[in-house]
């Protein structure tokens, strides 16, 4: 097969139509959601996403059929399960770590801050390698038999997401605490009242930190590939499947997976956006765009 047909369509699709149609369907998803017509936004967004796929040259029949294909759903759900667990654990470890970074100076805080900053940019493959050395049968933790299981992938993603969540939430805590220090002293709040108020006032920033951590977890290939092994029906998730299908030349399937991953990312981010708005909007005033002043504030 020369340069033409399928391959050319993909080339054209990715270089030209991808940004245009992706932003078009994003527009429908996001804008209509903001305007409060949630049901409509789902319909139009899906329609636009389908058009976008058709123009990419994806075979519609096989695309729709792939939704009922059990192995694809399996991959999607495993992705969500692993990254969801990594998100929860990342928050459990990351928020207190962020608080420790933001707390009054203590011995070793500077070192911890440096470590978190470095860990925020850890190369995933290196994390995977490190975990592999720990978890393989001859390694110090080999007796746990975690290698090539979803648990090992969760551990890898937690290691990647926790520093992001800790770093961002630390920044949030520092800023909120600085803004409110004089107020809290002036009101004469007790220690616990200060802590609880700070946590509640940081809620929007904490959701943003969690969003960033989830993004890191679900988009990651290297570490899960090394410790998960990309075993079909066991440890294959979306990113590793895309890498595999692309290298195998099954671009149709790779694109379908890629688009599903993007749509999932969009949905998850919409959820986080909704959560932030919900947390900010103490009394529900109305559902229309005009009444939601301060949405982006």
């Amino acid at each position: 097969m020369g340069l033409g047909g399928r391959k050319f369509a993909f080339f054209l699709g990715f270089s030209l139509f991808f940004p245009v149609f992706l932003s078009f369907s994003l527009f429908f998803w996001v804008f209509l959601y903001l305007s409060g017509f949630f049901g409509l936004s789902v319909l139009f967004g899906s329609f636009c996403s389908l058009c976008f796929l058709a123009i990419l040259g994806v075979d519609m029949a096989s695309f729709l059929a792939s939704f009922v294909a059990p192995d694809l759903l399996e991959i999607v759900f495993l992705s969500l399960r692993v990254s969801g667990a990594a998100l929860v654990l990342g928050c459990v470890f990351g928020f207190p770590l962020g608080a420790a970074l933001a707390a009054a100076p203590w011995r070793g805080q500077g070192v911890l801050r440096l470590l978190v900053a470095v860990a925020m940019g850890l190369p995933p493959v290196v994390v995977g390698l490190f975990l592999y050395l720990l978890l393989n049968r001859a390694g110090p933790l080999g007796w746990m038999a975690l290698l090539y299981t979803p648990s090992a992938m969760i551990v890898a993603q937690v290691i990647l997401a926790t520093p992001i969540i800790a770093g961002f939430s630390g920044e949030v805590f520092v800023r909120v605490a600085a803004d409110h220090r004089d107020l809290f002293r002036s009101l004469g709040l007790t220690r616990w009242q200060v802590v609880l108020t700070l946590l509640y006032e940081s809620r929007l920033g904490l959701v943003a930190a969690a969003t960033a951590g989830f993004g890191r977890a679900i988009s990651e290939v290297g570490a899960v590939l090394v410790v998960g092994g990309n075993i079909a029906h066991a440890t294959r998730i979306m990113t590793t499947a895309i890498a595999l299908e692309t290298s195998r030349g099954d671009l149709n399937r790779a694109v379908i997976l890629g688009v599903i991953l993007l749509v999932l990312a969009l949905l998850v981010n919409l959820f986080f956006l909704w959560l932030r708005m919900r947390l900010d909007d103490t009394p529900r005033v109305g559902k229309r765009l005009g009444k939601r002043a301060g949405f982006f504030s």
Binding site: H180, D182, R185, S186, L187, D281, T282, A293
Partner: protein, 265 residues
Amino acid sequence: MHAGISASANAAMSASSADSGQMVPLLELREVSLWRDGCALLRGVSLTLFAGERVVLLGANGAGKTCLLSVAHALMNASGGAVLWRGLEPKREQRHEQALVPQESVLLRRSAEANIRHGLLPLKLSGREVKERTAAALAQVGLTGRAQTRAQVLSGGEKQRLVLARALARKPALLLLDEPTARLDPSHTQAMELAIGQAADQGTAIFFVTHDPVQARALAQRVLFLHAGRLLADLPAEQFFAQASQSALPREAYQYLKSRSLTMD
């Protein structure tokens, strides 16, 4: 409104000056100095403030007005001297009797009402009392209709009024105000002054920082003049503004008033 305030102010002043000898002052600063980065921000400031008094602190920008207020409210620790609350070393509980309205309004990301309720948290009031005080404070500053609005979408003037309401709901013995109306338009300023005047009439001591001598004249029983960290004048308001013509005031204070064309020459 101004006439009403000064009339009751005179009455209160004669009463307080009569028996101030025996009374323990609400707030007392003894030779307070404050150093930051090798600069003296306050030099040997001494003052006493009795319950129910209305004191206005005048001074140019950078005179140390906000620093003095922060030290009095124990937001900053003085480098030297002592700050006494009811004749005692200040504790955390003293804050329950003080309330501060700062220059920049700091509000929580909650509804207006929830902001006031949060301010009442340390006072350990009953649920009903909290409800009553919240409603009363909102009414006092004219924000009843905005009770459920999120604080961060209020206008600048409304925010500042909400901060005042939060302070008033605590029913403090001493209300510290740091140029609360500096950035407000006349109508918001008037609403604030009215609410502050009402609080003062109910016996709250007022410590008001401003660089608006007109406002000072309307609210003050006593005027303090701060210049470069020194307290240059501590006079009854009548005397302070009357002496403006005789140049009996310290030179800096006189020039300050003159620059606002408030001298009587």
